[in-house]
């Protein structure tokens, strides 16, 4: 059951300060409304993973590992590999994260990241078939949140894309009895698009890019828009118990298009 979330209450004085700054177009950490926090991205950290990357977005820190195994296709897509995205909010990352099975927040995050990758067709799943209808590559994308300071979605999305771009596909031989053996050789995982998400929060009528945790706790609503390299919108998710005006949504699109291009150029173009 989904239940009204209890945001960490902000001290009154802090929230007053935030609102005053916002009124003059400034944010509590000194950023402009449309400025993202500094991004660092590191690829290829985990040797035992086929792909991996870590992203920091200010104090938010996310690690993504990609594992690739042979497995069965979904019955309704017998001629495609399988992509599966999972997120764990490990209790390292925040005092309020509890160990345990995925909850609605980690499930939502995984599904937003999944949607961006899937709908942009970033991974060419049709190239991941071993025996049509029987055996395909299964690509596990595991998102690990290490420190939570807001905007987990974008940090996760960037780390997932970087890990996929860096991932190597293990060549295998399939024996007569269906046994699968790795040859020891690798190819590149076929990643053919670069979906980039941009999250915008609304506070008091103002639109803020890349909200930090304090801002998320003040915001009524956020929206994440993911764009392909051709600037097509491929995933949207409004989140939080608030609303957007129609023109704000169109405004968010424009912001997302601009910001995603910047990030793509800086980090994801080869």
């Amino acid at each position: 059951m989904s239940i009204t979330s209890q945001a960490e209450p902000l001290a009154k004085i802090r929230s007053k300060q935030m609102m005053e700054l916002l009124a003059s177009g400034k944010r509590i950490d000194g950023r402009d409304l449309l400025a993202q926090r500094e991004i660092t991205l590191e690829r290829g950290i985990i040797e035992k993973a086929e792909g991996s990357a870590s992203v920091t977005l200010g104090n938010t820190r996310v690690l993504v590992g990609v594992k690739i195994e042979a497995g069965e296709p979904y019955p309704d897509t017998p001629n495609q590999g399988v992509l599966t995205v999972n997120a764990e909010f490990v209790p390292l990352a925040h005092e309020f994260f509890e160990p345990g099975p995925p909850n609605e927040n980690s499930i939502e995050l995984a599904r937003i990241v999944d949607r961006g990758i899937r709908e942009s067709k970033a991974v060419d799943l049709e190239k991941l078939v071993l025996t049509p209808g029987r055996l395909v590559y299964v690509v596990f994308v595991d998102i690990y949140i290490l420190n939570h300071d807001g905007n987990l979605v974008d940090a996760s999305e960037y780390a997932a894309l970087a890990a996929l771009q860096q991932a190597k596909l293990p060549k295998v031989e399939v024996g007569e009895d269906g046994e699968v053996k790795r040859t020891g050789e690798f190819e590149k995982l076929p990643v053919v698009d670069t979906p980039i998400s941009v999250t915008v929060a609304e506070i008091d009528g103002k639109l803020l890019v890349d909200p930090n945790l304090e801002e998320e706790n003040m915001a009524q609503a956020k929206v994440t828009m993911t764009l392909t390299k051709d600037n097509k919108l491929c995933a949207v998710q409004k989140s939080g118990a608030g609303t957007f005006a129609f023109n704000q949504i169109l405004e968010c699109f424009k912001i997302a298009r601009e910001k995603s291009s910047e990030i793509r150029r800086k980090f994801f173009e080869e």
Binding site: M1, S2, I3, T4, Q6, D76, T77, P102, N103, E104, I107, E108, A110, R111, R115, R118, E119, S120, Q220, A221, V223, T228, N231, K232, L233, C234, A235, V236, Q237, K238, S239, G240, A241, G242, T243, F244, A245, F246, I249, L250, F253, R257
Partner: protein, 250 residues
Amino acid sequence: MKSSRKLIDENGLRVDGRRWDELRPVKMEVGLLANANGSSYIQQGKNKIMVAVYGPKEAHPKHLGNPDRAIIRCRFHMAPFSTEERKSPAPSRREVELSKIIREALEPAVFSEYYPRSMIDVFIEVLESDGGSRCAGTMAASLALADAGIPLRDLVAACAVGKVEGQIVLDLNDVEDKEGEADMPVAVIPALGRISLLQMDGQFTEEEFAEALELAQKGCRSLYEIQKQALKQRYLPEKEALEAEEKGGK
């Protein structure tokens, strides 16, 4: 999965005979479950969805209560027999996400601040599913909240828009949802003129996105009228009876 089936024919008609901006037939009813404080039923295409609202009641366990407002709990759940293949009764990841998304679409419409330390439960049961079940469920849920007598800023109207063979279309059915090129559910609180649910998958250019948003607004306006009608049908007779009584009393 792409199929070879044509989704729009040479006359511009969709697989179920509708034009691009046409809604499916829809039926809404209010107040059918005896135990619930409020309830509703919606039938839209093959969607058959029943909603019960329990509350406002004291938050239980107490630590869940919020001193400033009622909290809302929401479950979007699909019956095992509601889908082509039997669905396991355990909540899927999709149902978990939709429960959250729908709760967040309803919350801004509810005057939660009237009921501190209380809890309002919204149970959405999909008895048969078709394209657009989250939108239908959201609309029905807002009707059930109204039926429970919970003060609302307004009802919540919702519909999906999408792209089928390059054409922006209103209110996708199952086939269009699966085989089409984009799907975007939108919920609107008409009195506020604001969007409380927005998701999208597939691909839209900027122009398509703007066009689709416009069409969704239009669809929601029509559905909103049907929602109000459902409430009237339930309460008008009572109101008239009351007025008649009052007149008689004079």
